[in-house]
Amino acid sequence: MNTDIRVSRTSNAAKVAAALGALIVVILIAAPYWAGRADLRLMGEVFLYLALASLWNLLAGYAGLVSVGQQAYVGFGGYMLFALTIFAGLPPLVAIALAGVLGALISIPVAALIFRLRGAYFAIGTWVMAEVFRLVFAQVSALGGGSGTSLPTDIVRSMADDRSAREALSYWLALGAALIVVTAVYLLLRSRKGLALTAIRDNELASASLGIDIWRTKFFVYVVTSGLTAVIGALIFLQKLRISPDAAFSVNDWTAFVIFIVVIGGIGTIEGPIIGTLVFFLLRETLADLGTIYLMVLGLVAIVVMLKAPHGIWGFIRHRFNLQLFPLGYRVVIADHTKGV
């Protein structure tokens, strides 16, 4: 018997996925040259939702911080884009990056407060925070108060002269943001901090006894996630060109849909949000005419998935075929040469 046991992080499926992924990314980068204007816009939206979903998945699925208030940072990022370009005269790209930094900064005192709440009460606490953000921005009359404001045309023009160039730029930003977020989440989870997170998720008590500082690890994830969510928020409202408190801090648009995406795709996996986003938009594009019924179906599907298949579509596929496209853990590979496989 000639059995060779190796410990490996990768797998054939992961290698194929990486190659396929690279090809898809190249095709997507070229999209402004082959896709129509409406498709480009839709794809941009898909990427931004993918980024939001990956971030929420990191927060809830890995760090155990189930937030229903990430719209706070989406809206904050959006408003920062408008404020920094209109009042400080910053170029939009700089404003987007700065919105991320400010989002991370403001999340520090927020975390200090709401981390006092545990479990489900933490969730509602995040919602209260989002409401506070909404009400505060509704008071800022320079940004249009409760009715909101539009991005001035000279600022829009400063990005690129003609409309299609602007739309291409906006698309690339969304694609880039999604790639950066998914990669960042992947690298974070492979790092020491990521291993600590997985350990905490699997057993909080045991990991505390191993000397993992749970509070600091969760705090770190919350701040990073909030900063990145603010960047995505800025990009969302760069696409929309118009902002109002109700749209910016919408719990349905920026949290409910995102949660459904992650739950349906598979929470606690990197692949889940990607699949969930595709399913969400597929449903939306086919059922959108049904309006409220579509949302009820979405809620129902999420409930059924949570009850019957808590690991979502990806969990089902992985269990069935033992696949992992983003290899996080190590696996034991046994090559049994006697069988000559």
Binding site: A60, V66, V68, L113, I114, R116, L117, R118, G119, A120, Y121, A123, I124, G125, W127, V128, E131, V132, L135, V136, A138, Q139, V251, N252, A256, I259, F260, V263, I267, T292, I293, L295, M296, L298, G299, L300, A302, I303, M306, L307, P310
Partner: protein, 287 residues
């Protein structure tokens, strides 16, 4: 004078918030469940009340005879049919399932009643007031506060003086051992949710008489109830009333300074208390 008036009106408003909170507090106390759809269930009760008043041509308070048992029934079925399957060590399933429920209820109400604001007509009750020295107290806010006190006293009595309350407390303490005593925890949880939604029915009808409502206002009611629970301290029903009053007073005081600050002032009061007393003012159980 404005100040005193604001404090009194805020206190009475706090009664309504305590009613929003009592159901949340009850189910958290019994089964550690936080129901994100709680606000939407309050709004559902308001709509059921509206339909009852329209169809039967009765006063909104009379509609309670229909809506309270209806909501209790919905609560029992919801708990046994769905929510019992989410309970366990993991907090994600109950949170996400009730979140999904919230979206379903909201959109079902939109489908059934449209997005137009509605209001229940309670006749003279809405405008009648009692003069108390220089203050004029609306009969409806007074009645709401009195009902809140009565409901909380009733819940307190049920919890600490009846076999049902014993079953609630025993199941809350230790589910396994409670079952060894012959208690079916699924049924006990069903009864707890039924009771919580019966209270929600009262809250919904009083809300629908006081202000206009539409399918989207549930989230806000959940947040007010939640803030009252946390301010008062987890698991303490009378604390919940105090929490509701603090929230109501903060809101009316904020509104006297600037109408736009009403809600903000309430949230800020909540955050200040969270910063200073993270377990609330009168905590009974640790979260």
């Amino acid at each position: 004078m404005d100040f005193l008036n604001a404090v009194v009106q805020g206190t009475l408003l706090g009664g309504l918030y305590a009613l929003f909170a009592a159901g949340l507090s009850l189910i958290f106390g019994v089964m550690r469940l936080v129901n994100i759809a709680h606000g939407d269930l309050i709004v559902l009760a308001a709509y059921l009340g509206l339909t009852t008043t329209v169809v039967l041509g009765v006063h909104p308070l009379v509609a309670l005879i229909v809506v309270v048992p209806a909501m209790a029934g919905i609560g029992y079925v919801l708990q046994r049919g769905v929510l019992n399957h989410t309970l366990g060590d993991d907090i994600l399933p109950p949170l996400l399932v009730t979140f999904g429920l919230s979206v379903i209820i909201q959109n079902a109400l939109l489908e059934g009643y449209s997005a137009d604001p509605q209001k229940m007509d309670a006749g003279v009750l809405e405008t009648a007031s009692v003069a108390l020295g220089p203050l004029s107290l609306g009969l409806l806010p007074l009645l709401t506060f009195a009902i809140a006190v009565a409901v909380i006293a009733g819940l307190q009595w049920t919890f600490y003086r009846t076999p049902l309350g014993r079953a609630f407390r025993a199941t809350s303490d230790n589910q396994d051992i409670a079952q060894l005593m012959g208690l079916n925890k699924r049924h006990v949880f069903g009864l707890a949710m039924a009771l919580a939604l019966a209270v929600t029915a009262v809250a919904g009808i009083l809300l629908g008489i006081r202000t206009s409502f539409d399918p989207s206002v549930g989230g806000g009611r959940l947040i007010f109830g939640f803030e009252a629970v946390i301010i008062g301290g987890l698991g303490n029903l009378w604390g919940t009333l105090v929490g509701g009053v603090i929230l109501g007073v903060a809101q009316t005081l904020g509104a006297t300074i600037n109408p736009g600050w009403q809600l903000l002032a309430g949230h800020i009061a909540f955050l200040v208390i969270l910063a200073v007393r993270p377990n609330g003012l009168f905590p009974r159980i640790s979260g």
